[in-house]
């Protein structure tokens, strides 16, 4: 019995992730908010300024990872509810936990994939150097999990309106990039602005990326890692609890 659940649990996650990748990676909101947006931010903030690109590259990469990973999750559940596919999905042998993790996995793979691509471009054309590949991979994975979980959490209270959830998620995601040490290094902040930065999980990803790339850091890397893990767990648990309550909302 136990093993049956385990098998279907894991299989369910894999199949859910595959489904999401096939269907939702191509949707306009994912492309716009996940790909074009970080690009615009990059162009707006880095091009034509006297910023050293390799100094800011880890932060930019963290921002890309943040945007891409968190752009898939908010779309899935509201889209499925609107397209009337959610009820059928729920009739399959799976649990809410399976769905949440499957949605998270799709966001995580999207974010990690795009970010690795961006990194490779950075290494090839800008000459970005990485001092610790292992740490970089750990940061990438944790960051992708953390913000994909955030994306799933944003969708959890959804009824059947993707546009409402996309709006909500933009409203929450945008402020975060301004308070997370991306454009202004943490070391140059103090007082309230520094305190606010510490409240953003993205700050810890930026810091971890800087550790990996040998850039300016302000915390011990263990702190970054622990915070990302704990925040991911909180996001996932909250998403599951909320999703359970609003499961049939808007069906």
């Amino acid at each position: 019995m136990r093993s049956l659940i385990d098998t279907y649990f894991l299989r369910g996650i894999a199949v859910t992730a595959e489904k999401n990748m096939r269907i939702y990676y191509r949707k306009a909101p994912v492309v716009i908010f996940g790909l074009l947006f970080p690009l615009f931010m990059f162009v707006a903030f880095f091009i034509g300024r006297e910023l050293e690109i390799d100094l800011f590259f880890p932060a930019f990469l963290a921002m890309t990872l943040f945007f891409t990973s968190s752009s898939v999750g908010p779309l899935i559940t509201p889209w499925e509810k609107q397209a009337r596919t959610f009820e059928r999905l729920l009739s399959y042998p799976l649990t809410v936990g399976t769905l949440i993790l499957g949605d998270m996995a799709a966001g995580m793979l999207f974010g990690a994939g795009i970010s690795v691509l961006v990194l490779l471009l950075g290494v090839a054309f800008v000459g970005i150097g990485i001092s610790s590949v292992v740490l970089f991979l750990v940061a990438l994975l944790l960051g992708a999990i953390c913000f994909a979980s955030m994306g799933v959490l944003l969708a959890a209270p959804a009824s059947s309106s993707p546009s409402n959830i996309m709006m909500l998620s933009s409203l929450i995601r945008f402020p975060l990039i301004f308070i997370s040490g991306i454009f202004i290094p943490l070391g140059e902040l103090e007082g309230l602005r520094l305190a606010v930065s510490y409240a953003s999980p993205l700050t810890y990803l930026v810091d971890a990326m800087n550790h990996a790339a040998g850039g300016p850091t302000s915390m011990h890397v263990a702190v970054d890692i622990v915070v990302l893990i704990v925040v991911s767990a909180i996001f996932l648990i909250a998403a599951t609890a909320i999703q359970k309550r609003s499961l049939t909302k808007g069906l």
Partner: protein
């Protein structure tokens, strides 16, 4: 007590939405191999019941047992036994028929090989094989419904739930679907379907439960339901010249319908009503052009059962 012969047991199912009791203490069981119909008007609680039976909604009270497996305690195991066609449930329009079936098959843990076999088999039987590689968004409504059906049975479930499966289909698609349901049933699959089409329930189901405002109001074989509602017998009569409908509101007549120049008088005592009709014709100096008695109709029985009360006689055009 052994309940091996039962495919589905629902006991004291109750679901509240806020203060609304959408389903109120519903208890019934379905035999293995049976086609069981759940009949009720809009908003009666059919979909809510089916959602509780398939684990989508958690009932406020009561429990569901599928093939001896408690749904609440062993959700995954119980769901493995079931196939579900939701009321408005569609397949993924971005995917092809093949991809939709493969996705469903994988959720049920079928092997690649088995999925291929079943896909060919089902799409062939449902006339979708030629279009298997086209995205579902290019399908007609009937084709989508057939694909939906295929997805629900790819894993050869023991119990199939269908929520108003033939709603909005043309005669041909409807017949194909009904044939598929019957064929599946012949192979031993238990069928639970909801409908508000009495003819369909009558033709298809071995037993029918009637639900109204969340409560079960009757549960029996369609023939038994038919005979137990004698008051749905009727007289079809036409006069020349026509007489005002309300002059016919007497004694046993519970409802009058006019259709064309004919009036249909629902009565639990046709004998007495015929005499009164003749009297009225005499008083009004009208000729009776035609007079015909009709047996009880399940359709009327259904309406009478599900309406709370019907004071006096109702006139319907």
């Amino acid at each position: 007590m052994s309940n091996d012969h039962l495919a589905l047991e629902a006991s004291h199912l109750t679901k509240l939405f806020g203060t609304l009791k959408a389903v109120d203490d519903v208890t019934f069981s379905v035999q293995r191999g049976e086609i069981f119909g759940f009949l009720g008007p809009n908003g009666a609680g059919k979909t809510t019941t089916i959602r509780m039976l398939t684990g989508l909604l958690t009932p406020n009270e009561g429990r569901v047992i599928v093939n001896g497996i408690d749904l609440h305690d062993h959700m995954i195991k119980a769901k493995m036994q079931m196939g579900v066609i939701p009321e408005v449930g569609t397949t993924y329009v971005d995917l092809t028929a093949e991809q939709n079936l493969a996705l469903t098959g994988k959720y049920y843990g079928l092997s690649r090989e088995r999925i291929r076999e079943r896909t060919k088999e089902l799409l062939g039987a449902l006339g979708l094989y030629e279009r298997r590689g086209d995205p579902v968004r290019t399908y007609s409504k009937g084709m989508r419904q057939r694909l939906s059906f295929a997805c629900a049975i790819i894993h050869e479930p023991n119990v199939l739930f269908l929520d108003e499966p033939t709603e909005g289909l043309d005669v041909q698609s409807r017949r194909l679907l009904v044939d598929m349901i019957l064929e599946l049933n012949m192979k031993g699959c238990t069928i639970f379907l909801t409908t508000h089409n009495i003819e369909e329930a009558n033709a298809l189901c071995q037993r029918v439960a009637i639900i109204n405002k969340g409560r079960l109001v009757a549960l029996d074989r369609p023939e038994a339901l038919r005979s137990s509602f004698e008051k749905t017998q009727s007289l079809e009569v036409s006069f020349d010249p026509r007489i005002a409908t309300d002059t016919l509101c007497f004694g046993h007549v519970s409802k009058i319908e006019t259709s064309g120049d004919k009036m249909i008088l629902y009565t639990d005592d046709p004998h007495a009503t015929i005499k009164q009709v003749v009297d009225v014709a005499q008083q009004e100096h009208a000729r009776i052009l035609s007079l015909r008695t009709r047996g009880p109709s399940l359709e009327e029985a259904f309406i009478m059962l599900t309406d709370d009360k019907r004071p006096g006689c109702e006139i319907v055009d």
